[in-house]
């Protein structure tokens, strides 16, 4: 209603409105809950996991392929390790992947995007063209190619993913910055002779914080998914590391014998990604950010 004017005292604060909008959608609450649960599990893994030893080393050949039971809720794997414990510890690795990848991408992508948009000139051309090149290869494909260069292990797969991820931030930041650049307060700063870096990082950047926040939230999920995918294709973490993607791909060999080996780690990946998706989407509504994907 265009008639409600905004000065009157009893109006809700910006935060209240946000919260109101957020909690209006059950989906985003579900997302929030999932994220919290998984984080807690990751943090307290050693306390929660019934057989912490199994996550790292420890083989009990006598006890292999036990179907889910009270002793082993998720069953045991081909060398008799407790799948539940491994899944629990896997959450740590997954979150690590998500966070590391996104952090690197932000650190690399954001400055480049700002420079391209604000400084412009040859910088803009170079940065944006390079970005285009990266963006025109499907991330998974590129990550795969990069991962192949190094020894297959968790760190390298994280690097590989980051290598394919930063351009998305360049693109996003670039677009945002271009529009913000046009606004008055930027011109004001320029007129009072603020330094380029000041304007970029102190004036423009804060104005796209919410957009970035949403992007990051969504991306943590997608990065985890990508990490799992690489693991599945065999360029991820190596045994006995309990990474979800790797567990799924190793479990496949025994699919017809032991469904639980593939089912539970996969489920874990799914929930994590779903969580960050729902939450990120809720965040998007809440900060009303316009963004595809």
């Amino acid at each position: 209603m265009n008639t409600t004017s905004r000065q009157s005292a009893q109006y809700k604060s910006g935060f209240q409105r946000a919260a109101y909008r957020f909690f209006r959608s059950p989906l985003s609450i579900i997302g929030l809950v999932i994220i919290l649960v998984i984080s807690v599990v990751a943090i307290f893994a050693p306390l929660i996991a019934p057989y912490p030893k199994d996550a790292i080393s420890g083989v009990h050949f006598g006890n292999s392929f036990q179907p889910p039971s009270l002793a082993h809720l998720f069953g045991t794997d081909e060398v008799g390790r407790d799948v539940l414990s491994r899944v629990i510890f896997g959450s740590r690795l997954s979150l690590k992947v998500g966070l590391v990848v996104v952090t690197i991408s932000v650190l690399v992508g954001v400055p480049l995007g700002l420079v391209a948009a604000y400084v412009g000139g040859p910088w803009e051309v170079v940065i944006m063209r390079v970005t285009d090149v990266f963006l025109s290869i499907p991330p998974l494909v590129l990550a795969l190619a990069v991962a192949a260069v190094f020894k297959p292990n968790l760190t390298n797969s994280m690097l590989a993913i980051s290598f394919t991820w930063w351009p998305w931030y360049v693109r996003l930041v670039y677009g945002e910055a271009l529009s913000i650049k046009e606004e008055d307060f930027v011109e004001v700063c320029e007129s009072v002779g603020a330094s380029k870096s000041h304007i970029m990082f102190k004036e423009i950047l804060p104005n796209m914080a919410s957009t970035l926040l949403v992007k990051v939230t969504l991306d943590i999920g997608y990065a985890i998914l990508m990490g799992a995918s690489l693991g599945f294709l065999g360029v991820g973490a190596q045994p006995p590391t309990p990474a979800w993607g790797t567990m799924v791909s190793l479990g496949r060999v025994h699919l017809s014998r032991a469904w639980w080996l593939t089912t539970f780690p996969g489920l874990a990946i799914f929930l994590t990604v779903l969580g960050s998706n729902l939450f990120g989407d809720g965040l998007r509504d809440l900060l009303d950010v316009e963004m595809e994907r």
Binding site: M1, T3, T4, S8, Y11
Partner: protein, 337 residues
Amino acid sequence: MSQHILEIKHLQVWFHTIDGVAQVIQRAELVVEPHQAVGLVGETGCGKSVTAKVILGSLPVPPAEIKQGEVIFCNEDLLSLRVKQRKELLKQSMSYIPQDPMTSLNPVFTIRQQMVDLIKWHKCANIGLGGLLGLRGWTKNKPARKTALQLLDYVNIPAPEKIVDSYPIELSGGMRQRVLIAMALVGDAQFLIADEPTTALDVTIQKGILNLMEERIEERGIAILYITHNLGVARRLCARICVMYAGNVVETGPTLELLEDPAHPYTIGLINSVPKLTKESYVGIEGTLPDYLQPPSGCRFHPRCRYAEEICRNTPPSLREVGEHRFASCHMIERFR
């Protein structure tokens, strides 16, 4: 059995917002006779368009909530009809000219596509898959196109053959408004809502459109509910005028009488606020529309009313007959008349 074509009785509409309940329409009363043009006048945000939306059934519910009231159209209460039936009824006998010609034509279809479909199908409720895929009724295309051209010509569009194949974006505002009018004339509706059809246009074009409305629509004897904030326009087109303030119909009556001798302080203010060539200066109304979240008690106009007294602050006035076919809602009428 009333002979009214449209009658709105004590309509009350609230909006549920984050900040609380906005009591946007408190008491709307409206009557439109067949073949008659009625002007619904008031400043922007007084609830005119909401009223129109209620009639058209395009009001988003929620957040809106129709607390009470009846909208009787062709002897049917639109509010109590089932959605499907209401839509049918409207399609058959109501028509609509929107405020903003820029957004009111589908941007990705040519005028021809839109009009032809309209002409071909406006009568039938369900065209099914066949109609959608153009398997049905393709024979009607030729005559439909002819009709379209005639209509465009009828609304004084130069070289219809050219216009008909262009996309809305290629046309000026005035042209689009004419096209919209032409489309409004497709079904032979007996009632038409015109929601400020000229405000989005610049003055020179307004005139043309107004003429068009006068000649083409009145000569077809279609009843009009003409929503405007411009008394001049209303005076020119309408037989009767309905003045709205802050969600209330505060005065209604035959155009000339009402304008010559307004019965409600707000109407007076409104009339004075119209720049006249005769008078050198003009008096506006102090203050702004009230906040619908906590509207003033009693008469909603009292904070801005120079005649306001105790009673105005406490009890809301109701419409009273103040002359032949004339009604106004004010405690103080006797005082200042």
